[in-house]
């Protein structure tokens, strides 16, 4: 078990940030999802021991978050959301410095800094001053400093924020590589659902300081089988209106694919009866798994 939290509560003064969080995170990459203010960053800070929970208990890699935060920090790599780079340093000095602070011998830290900088794609730029780095390079560098002491568990806070599409893809590739091939568990906090979908096998969704959903992504998607994808031929307007009157939510994609969410207890054969009545041909009918977006919208309660 990588992370196990039980009934964690935390308040910033009168504001309750976490309200009875109980979470179990097994091996593999796990996404921590939630809208702004859901408590994602607070949860990460509690896991790292920056904040002490008001109530509840938890373990990270078998170490108590209250009693043994230093053992946790030795085993965990943390990539914060902010551009927290120290000016006046080059990437090698910066990375080896944080390796040393993690407890690596000086020379080992320096050697290792070169290795991880090559790994994240900053090999050529490793002697450049950090002030000259682009947003994408800064993200890679933050990943490098999180990896330098070869952690067992990586906490990544919004790893793709401020990145252009290409930079985002490259960082996600690195994260996928780390979590799938390198025996390093990853917890990614993000509000970009597609990032989580691309990199994670499990997810924890927070909302208003509570766990809205958690588990294997594949299993969570299968909770709701009421989403169907349809293509129809004929006058689709009356058909869509009829579906709406039958309390079905319908989304039409750019390529005329209809995503129909059936309400509880709705018989799917009714879709065909309606089509028959309105002289519409159903040319494509597939039972769809809900996307993470759907899952998120349903659990958090937003469209």
């Amino acid at each position: 078990m990588n992370i196990e939290l039980q009934d964690i509560k935390f308040s910033y003064g009168p504001v309750r940030a976490l309200d009875g969080i109980t979470v179990r995170v097994e091996n593999g990459a796990c996404g921590l999802l939630g809208p702004n203010g859901a408590g994602k960053s607070t949860l990460l800070r509690i896991l790292l021991g920056f904040l002490r929970p008001d109530h509840g208990q938890g373990h990270v890699l078998g170490h108590d978050i209250r009693k043994d935060p230093f053992a946790i920090r030795r085993l965990v790599g943390y990539m914060p959301e902010d551009d927290c780079l120290i000016p006046g340093m080059d990437a090698v000095t910066f990375t080896s410095y944080f390796g040393e602070l993690a407890g690596m011998p000086r020379q080992e830290a320096m050697k290792r800094a070169h290795d991880v900088l090559y790994y994240v794609g900053l090999g050529e730029a490793r002697y450049r001053m950090l002030e000259t780095y682009s947003a994408g390079m800064k993200q890679r560098l933050k990943l490098a400093q999180a990896l330098v002491h070869d952690p067992k568990l990586l906490f990544l806070d919004e790893p793709t924020s401020n990145l252009d599409p290409q930079g985002r893809v490259e960082i996600l590739d690195l994260i996928k590589d780390i979590s799938s091939n390198k025996d390093i568990q990853v917890l990614i906090s993000s509000h970009i659902l597609t990032d989580i979908e691309l990199t994670c096998t499990a997810v924890v969704i927070l909302n208003k300081g509570r766990v809205a959903a958690q588990g294997e992504l594949a299993a969570l998607r299968q909770v709701d089988f009421s989403l169907y994808e349809l293509r129809v031929k004929g006058e689709s307007g009356p058909y869509l209106r009829a579906l709406g009157e039958a309390k079905c939510r319908v989304e039409e994609t750019e390529d005329q694919l209809l995503k129909v969410y059936l309400p509880a207890g709705f018989d799917r054969r009714e879709l065909f009866r309606l089509a028959d009545r309105l002289n519409v041909q159903v040319r494509h009918f597939v039972k769809s798994q809900s996307s993470l977006e759907d899952l998120f919208a349903r659990t958090v309660g937003v469209d």
Binding site: R45, R73, P80, D83, Y118, G123, Q145, H149
Partner: protein, 289 residues
Amino acid sequence: MPIAEQGYVHWEGRLDVRRRPWRPIVRLGIRLAFRRKAFKFVLGMAFLPTLVFAAGVYISERLDDFKEMIRGADRFLKVDPEFFKAFYASDYLLFWMLIIMVLAGAGLIADDLRHKALQLYFARPLRRRDYLQGKALTLCFFLLLLTLLPGFLFIVLKVIFSGSFKILAEYPWLPLSVAAWSLVAAGFFSFYTLALSSLSRNRRYASILLIAVYFLSDIFFGIFYGIFRDPAFTLLSVKSNLQQVAAALLGAKPFFEVPWEYSAAVLAVLAVLAGVVLSRKVRGSEVIK
């Protein structure tokens, strides 16, 4: 830019549980300070009194040779506690020590706050105490370079030039006094600098604060002393309090008619206040209450 130029390789070593986790912080602080040209110049300027007083130690043993040059000023060349007081409590040395603090210390915490780097530090097995120790010892390194090193150098030079241990026989406590004052000055200036550095996210503002507090306190002392002629106003001035304590620790006559213990108490209160400021400002994450 290509990624994954090299595959990820696990590190085979073992992380140490460091007994002195602040060492990398000190090393980096010193390295970054020496990268600044202005800092090297200021450090050179701050060593001028050391050169002058070292020459004084030499001349004190060759008074006959320099008779023409000295012309009755030989009382200043007696190497005794007053000689050390003149060195340590000089406005010149204290001023350059302050400037060293501005260049090497103003950004020590302010830069970390500005760039939100504290979370990187505290994501490591590092306590707040270790972080502050690292920052403070960076400053102590420079301050002891300007106080402890010259003090012992003068004593050693005196022994060498005189060919006897007379100075140590006459003032056996002198090495201890030098060490004590050096530690007091380094400790106070470190607390003072770090606290003001933590009050701002901008190293320039922190620099201005460092200089302003030091000089304004002295200006207030001058104004009130000019009006009321009461030496108790000495306690308002950071500089005068330092000079009082320096004189007392070196066994020399104090500058002002105020018990040196009061000055020491003022410095201690300022250091405690600085400690409180640091404990509130230096956190792994911003906590909004």
